[in-house]
Every structure is written in C-alpha cells, then in structure tokens.
C-alpha cells in the first residue's frame, strides 16, 4: 500500500514537470519525482520490527562474528546506500538546472517557457 502512494507522488511530479509553464515549477516537478523514487527505494528495504543496520559492541559475538538476532532484525542497508548516491546525483543535476534557469532569465527576461521558443521546426 505505501508503494502505491509513492507511485502517486511520482505521477504528481511528472504531471507538474509536463504541464506547468514556469521554468522553476518544472524544476520543482522533477525534484518531486526524484524524492518519490528515493522514498520508494528506502521503503523497499524495510523489515517489520526492524532495527537500524548499525553494528554496536553488544551485537558482536566472540570470535568476531555478528549476532544472529541482529541479522534477522536489521533493515536492509543496501537501498540506503543507493539512495545516498541518488541524492548526490540529483544535487548535481539540480545545480545545473538552476544555473541554466538563471542564465535563461538573463537572456530572455522571462521564466515562461511559451515565450522561450526561438528554436522551431
């Protein structure tokens, strides 16, 4: 059920990126899409009654292993690493998008994409 809500958020972001006319609103729509996908990725790793996957001294057994009770209860840490990477990628992409918006405002004087239409055909 939460996955369906994630998908709904994704579709809202897609709608916003496709329909809106202001450049900054389009950028915000793309951001909402990215958040939806990150949320979906994190929710994939959830395990009911789970604990955070951080190993503490109390979970170490003799001989250097990790306690079984921890392993069967810990939340999957791989999607969290994937989401960290995806957040950094979206940061770089967002910086580039905003700088292009600023430069376009300098040149054209407006943020409205229906007026930025010199390339046709």
């Amino acid at each position: 059920m939460p996955y369906a809500l994630c998908f709904l958020l994704f579709v809202i972001g897609l709608y916003c990126a496709v329909v809106k006319k202001n450049m900054v609103k389009i950028v915000v729509g793309i951001l909402v899409m990215e958040y939806a996908v990150n949320l979906f990725l994190i929710m994939l790793g959830y395990r009911s009654e789970g604990v955070a996957p951080i190993v503490d001294k109390s979970y170490l057994t003799e001989g250097g292993g990790i306690a079984d009770a921890f392993l069967s209860h810990a939340v999957d840490p791989l999607p969290q690493a994937l989401v960290l990477t995806a957040i950094v990628i979206s940061l770089g992409s967002l910086a580039l998008m905003i700088s292009i918006c600023i430069r376009t405002y300098e040149k054209y004087g407006t943020f409205d994409i229906t007026e930025i239409r010199r390339l046709k055909g």
Binding site: A52, V55, K57, L60, G64, L96, I98, S99, I102, R103
Partner: protein
C-alpha cells in the same frame, strides 16, 4: 550580496567553527555511525555558506577563493583515486581493494574503533574534502550571477 546585522555576524563567527568541527566528526566516524563522506562534506560546505550569508560574498571569497576551492575539489577527487589505485600494488592486486584491513585476532579487538575498517576512512576524508569544496563552489558561483554581468563561469 551584503552581510547581515551585527548580532548575526557575532554569533555566526562563533558557530561556524563548531559546524566545521561537527562536519569533520561526521566524516571521520563514517565507518562507525551514519554519515560518511557525502553528508560530512555537505556540513563542511554549509559552514562556509553561513560565512557567506552572514558577512557577504566578498568576504567569503577572500576567505576561500574560487581558485582555491577548485583546487581542493580536484585534489579530493585525485586523492580518492590514488587511494583506490594503491590497491593494485598489494597482494591480490585489484582496484579499491581494502589493503589496510586488519584481521580480528583473539583478545585484540580492532573492530569498531576509529582506526579500523582499512581504507574506508581515507576514502571518506577524500570525499568529504571534495564534496565540501564543490558544494561551496556551486553556491558561490550561483550567487555571482547578476543581470548585467557578461562573462561568468560557464558551468
């Protein structure tokens, strides 16, 4: 951009050092607690952004100029690649090989200490430097755009 009032300037000049220290803590303990290179780097950058917001862009630029930040950026990335490259020369000869990994010996636990987990803290430090420098560079460059300026950085 100009700076802010005298209260903000005083408080932020004390607080920015604490933020920087907190960033270093998050970077260094990245293999034990949540955080690591990316998150710590963002906090390091935000201390310089606080400087820029409170004192004005020109002051922050004198403190850490564009060229210096750019060189830190490249140095961080090259350091990360050097750490990965040295894995080639040890034993099993593979990139990113954790050649500083210490085995757990009986009675001499090395796990969960600061100096454990091999090359991961070194990678974290390199990434922390790089992310901090590049994020500060991005915000500084974005704040330099003015409607009447001509050539800026083409980023």
């Amino acid at each position: 951009m100009n700076g802010m009032t005298i209260i903000v300037k005083t408080i932020s000049s004390w607080v920015k050092v604490l933020i920087f220290l907190f960033g270093i803590y998050i970077v260094l303990f990245g293999h034990l607690t949540p955080g690591g290179g990316f998150a710590g780097g963002v906090i390091l950058a935000s201390s310089y952004v606080l400087l820029m917001l409170a004192f004005g862009r020109k002051f922050a630029e004198k403190n850490l100029s564009l060229g210096t930040a750019s060189r830190f950026d490249c140095a961080g990335a090259l350091l990360f690649m050097a750490v990965a490259l040295f894995g080639l020369f040890y034993g099993a000869a593979s990139f990113f090989y954790n050649y500083l990994q210490q085995e757990v010996e009986a009675g001499h636990e090395t796990a969960l200490r600061l100096a454990s987990a091999g090359t991961i803290p070194l990678s974290n430090i390199a990434i922390g430097i790089k992310v901090g420098a590049s994020l500060f560079l991005v915000i500084l460059t974005l704040s330099m755009f003015r409607p009447e300026s001509s050539a800026g950085e083409k980023e």
